[in-house]
Amino acid sequence: MSTTLRFDQIRLPPECETLRAEVRAFLAEEIAKGTFDPHRPGNGDSHNRAFSKRIGANGWIGMTWPKQYGGQERSFLERYVVTEEFRVANAPVRLHFVADRQSGPILLKYAPEHIKQDILPRICRGELCFVIGMSEPGSGSDLFAARTKATKVDGGWKINGSKIWTSNAHIADYMLGLFRTSPPTKENRRHGLTQFLVDMKTPGITVNPIIQMTGQHDFNEVVFDDAFIPDDHVMGEIDGAWKQATSELAYERSGPERFLETFYVMLEMVRALGPDPDLRSAEGLGRLVAQLHTLRRMSVSVAGMLQAGKEPVVEASIVKDVGTIWEQKLPGRVRELTAFLEPEISNRATLEEQLAFATMIAPKLTIQGGTTEILRGIIARGLGLR
């Protein structure tokens, strides 16, 4: 049993600050030419193909990957800076973000050479959108209950069934999906699932939109009807997908996107409060600043420990747990702290629009990418309980 938590004091090295200046200059230019409006909420969830290509041209997608696949061989701390600056600017990164964060690293580890050479450079150029195919109508958090089947045929596999809550499926070029290749065994209920790379243009795939309660179209249902996947699109061990998710998950859980998703309301609140807030607002703002600073220091620490080759699995889950609860509560705190502002403050309309949007999206923050309950189960296991 070990209850020792470790958060090394990592500071971003000087090359990160040079890079940050470049990213800020690029974003300022894009905002000036009207690519996106930083004050419009929800940009982070939208996509812009031309914009993603320009980001790729700057070398900011797949930037930690080997140069032979189009990467820059830069550090995870440098990637961290790029990720947080794009989030804070509220820039549309949806097209390439999943591929950059998790699909690319999986391909790097498990794809055959010719597929790596084909796909990874295109991700780096900002040309490809990836979707994750995990949840099914009968299995969400309980990943290993997945039933969508891959049946062995000559030269490949035939997929039948459906995946649900697939963000991006309607714009995606590829899916990394989890399909059942064998039944689970008595000893191991996680056995029998295999990870596949799926070309979304494959005949037999239908994407049906699911509109969210915010009115946005992000979710989809993806139906497979005898969709053929060639043998070389198997990613990793057949029946052994459960062994494959380790350190990638730590990156996915602990990045700045896990506490900055509603940051725009805090920024707009600072603007609304002005230089001389009353005591109640000042105290409330101060607490939020302390909580945000602490979360970022925790998140940077995990990034630095990962870069150093450590495996802070519990620490990464803690960042997501504490971070997503915080970003979920943030719109409510901002609402309280701006409740008594003068009606004629100049940015009232923007603040109200942002608050309305953030309030609507808040429920999803502790569900997407692993629910609070699942995360706390992982943390409890790491503490030596269970």
Binding site: T3, F7, Q9, E85, E268, D276, A282, M298, G377
Partner: protein, 351 residues
Amino acid sequence: MAGGSDHIVAETAARIFADLADPQTINRTQDDAWKARLWSALADAGLPLAWVPEELGGSGASLAEGFEILGVAGRYALAAPLAETLIAGWLLARAGIEAPAGAMTVAPAQPRDRITLDKDGTLSGRASGVPFAREAQHIAMLAGSTIALVAAKDCRVSDGKNLAGDAAGTVTFNRVKPIRSASAPAGFDQAALMLMGATARSIEAAGALETILSLSVAYANERVAFERKIGKFQAVQQNLARLAGETAAALTAAGSAADTIAQADEFDEAVFLEVASAKIRSAEAAAEGSAIAHQVFGAIGFTNEHVLHRFTLRMLSWRDDFGNESWWAAELGRRVAKRGADEFWPLIASR
């Protein structure tokens, strides 16, 4: 726990606390005899005056090493004026004043208390909530831009105690003649003293939370109810995961503040953000963490006999020293507001 030869000072402290300040043993002890034995071992190891240069009578350890001592002290819920003596020695050294032997404390210990230096060189004023004032032989203090060393017996010290029963009285200075006094360095003011004190308390609270987490997990793995260990119940697991989150936040914020001060040339805007955040977040974690730990332990944890209160009550009391979290939050909020929205993210990102 610190490991490796580069944490030798903290390891020395841990050894001494394990031998002479074990919380379980102290909790069963009726008298205060352990205090003198502990202090003499700490003094022999040069720990109370770690932040005093050798030429001023100390052991000349680095700021980082001193902060590590405080982390260990927090893990033992230390009920002795070690943090206070460390800070007092550090304060005196700012003005080149030699540190006396024995326990010290510092005044003011609250941001809004003021001590004034009169024309005749005497000190007057009131300092509230001065930790361990009753047990200290000397008080290091700041009056405007003067740093002074006074004998505790020359002041009036009230009988106050904090939640954990540690001495925390009001010290009244009525034309007290200092043993020594000298000018503080340019720009050094009461804010700097509060920053140092707040950092110390944040580190101690984070240390206490580390122990509280270990105790709670161990108990959940041992206590059986409804024919299962309570740690097997998801409701308990979820609470302990939250406790881990609060502990992580306190540890990170306090560690970050300590690291910043240890590297800083001056108490600038970055130090203020770091220390205010640490004090605010560790105080919030103390409140949340204490509630969760007591919930895990149930009635047994609410008894005087059980060791848990030594950690929870002390940690809750530390919230009030050197500015409570509400005071720091209001100050931090005002500073962020003054910088304006466009300078807000750059401040966060600079750390």
